[in-house]
């Protein structure tokens, strides 16, 4: 059984249809990349899969781990193991990072019928993950994302992912706003989390990230549909020819 099976998925926001029939199958252990021009629906796909309430699914289905994903609330999807690394991580003033993360972890553990983790067990595990992302301890007693630089915010997303250990991690433009050193650290963190149980969906505009997080499959999204799928070499081809080529190909196909 696949981890995620999406069939003919249509979704709109404020009455505008953004996704116009997505088919995609992801198995455990695979890393898929979604590439495409601005406005093609990449981020919408990430948001719909993590069940953002602003997006309305009008058609199609998504079966995740044998369950109907489209029936889930965001917190249910999260507790079932779906994690979204946000393109624009949100600030929560007054709530410490470590506290927030332990609350999230315990919400998930509770959902799964596991014991909540106390601070004594949490801290050593947490420190380990901090090291992986080369993050400063001091950052963790500060409020969630408040006063973080763009790079620190993105690293913090991957840190959260490392702590919450999702089954399906969706990375939404994690490379945007990162300099090359920060990009390498983030990629290192992501790669450390790759294993045969975990799948990843890496949404990106640029091929650059895929030099560091090498995908098994690349899909090209244009105007709300996947127009091409292939291996990692497809990303390089896109980098060379640009999305214009794909867009034209798609228009030709429609004509």
């Amino acid at each position: 059984m696949s981890l995620l099976e999406i069939k003919n998925l249509h979704a709109s926001v404020d009455g505008h249809e953004i996704l116009k029939g997505i088919d995609l199958t992801i198995n455990a252990g695979e890393v898929h990349s979604i590439m495409g021009p601005n406005g093609s629906g990449k981020s919408t796909l990430a948001q719909v899969l993590s069940r953002h309430p602003a997006y309305e699914v009008t058609q199609g289905q998504a079966i995740y781990n044998g369950k109907d994903l489209l029936e889930m609330k965001p917190e249910e999807a999260a507790c079932e193991g779906i994690f979204l690394a946000f393109q624009y991580p949100v600030e929560i003033p007054g709530i410490g990072n470590a506290y927030f993360l332990r609350s999230a972890l315990n919400a998930i553990r509770k959902y799964r019928g596991e014991d909540e983790m106390d601070a004594i067990d949490f801290l050593p595990m947490f420190r380990e993950k901090l090291k992986l992302l080369e993050m400063d301890d001091k950052l963790m007693s500060r409020s969630v994302n408040e006063g973080f630089s763009g790079g620190e915010k993105k690293r913090n997303e991957i840190l959260q992912m490392a702590v919450l250990e999702p089954k399906l991690a969706i990375l939404d433009e994690t490379d945007s706003g990162l300099d090359i050193d920060a990009l390498k650290i983030v990629a290192k963190g992501v790669n450390a989390l790759r294993n045969s149980e975990r799948a990843m969906l890496v949404v990106t505009h640029y091929q650059r990230l895929l030099n560091y997080i090498v995908p098994d499959f690349v899909h090209v999204l244009v105007d709300g549909r996947i127009v091409r799928s292939g291996g990692k070499e497809l990303a390089l081809e896109l980098e060379e020819k640009g999305y214009v080529f794909e867009t034209e190909a798609r228009q030709a196909m429609l004509a």
Partner: protein, 486 residues
Amino acid sequence: MSSSNLETIRSLAEQDYKWGFITDIEEERVPKGLDEKTVRLISAKKNEPEFMLQWRLKALHHWQSLEKAQAEPTWANIKYPPIDYQEIVYYSAPKKKVNLEKLEDLDPEILRTYEKLGIPLLEQKRLAGVAVDAVFDSVSVGTTFKEKLSEIGVIFCSFSEAVQKHPELIQKYLGSVVPHTDNFFAALNAAVFTDGSFVYVPKGVRCPLELSTYFRINAADTGQFERTLIIADEGAYVSYLEGCTAPIRDQNQLHAAVVELIALDNAQIKYSTVQNWYPGDKEGKGGIYNFVTKRGKCQGVNSKISWTQVETGSAITWKYPSCILQGDNSVGEFYSVALTNNYQQADTGTKMIHIGKNSRSTVVSKGISAGHGQNTYRGQVKIMKGATGARNYTQCDSLLIGDKCGAHTFPYIEVRNSTARMEHEASTSKIGEDQLFYLRQRGLSAEDAVSMIVNGFCKRVFKELPMEFAVEAQKLLGVSLEGSVG
């Protein structure tokens, strides 16, 4: 904002009032209405010395002249129908069989009430930490730890008892911070107040217990007019907590209290309130009118007074816990969380009056509006001519939940000394869909997500509360406090 998030916010904002039960006890009450007879009756019932009666009568006459001149204040940003002061019962007390010498003599019904509220008075005797004075309707029904405190010279008792046993202190300090001429409701209170708490901490004593008063309005059609007087003598320290609840009733009930604090040289008073009077129902029917005058005087050098309040109850709140910073190097602080939902209205804030040299004040106000709630911050910072080197920092933040509520800010700043340093920061924010989604995506339920955001918003104020009160405040706001991590 999407409908599911709004739904959650609504349900959270509309949590039921859990303290709305009525205790069935026999009451002794005076007839409705207010005139000289009422005042004389109250004074006689309390067996007061002549100076008290005269003081009350002076206040009554002043209030009557104000009422005649229709001088009930109208400047606050609140709306309510005219109050008929002749329809209020000004004295109601549980009938007691014997003179209360021991807490065990209390009416068991009242004891059970306080247990339901989470304050078992008898239990309190065994638990170290908090000494409680409980005020039921108009009278004080029991003070715990009295003997223990008296060993170190701390007087903590009901106001009535203080009038009997320490008239010299009452005569010296009563009305010295809030005179009966201060305002309409202060005049009313001075005329008819029935009980309250009294604290005196002698020179150099650091009160080892948190002192606490729990106010409960039970009887119908009564007003509650209590008066609290706290004096910290030179070098003394005291931390005082105040909690309030009332049953659910359809009629509005008036609560017009006065609190006076006096800190002498090097003394410190910390006054914390968790106010949860019945706020009225979802349509805005019923609830307490909480029209309260609270003021502290930093009379001595290096003295300090801190007000911390978490206000979630009352149909209407009108209160401005203030500090008169008279002593050189004196410090005034005000930390406030005010939550209004459904049709609640709050016009609250503080006054910091700088008179002494190098006096400093800090104001941190957090207003949360949900439902149709209207929340107003009104603050005054006044630097007098002689207050060389005075400093004030004011931070005033509003959080809006939903799209039918309102937040308003009226800061008044008056500076008459050019060496003063003033800072004022203000912000208004809305719980955004993005914030909510972020937390939910990490596995937190929508309710927990809202709680967490609100809790984070109030953190600066919660940090100022004594531990057990912080827990209650957190429960009241439906939030979970931060653990030891982070």
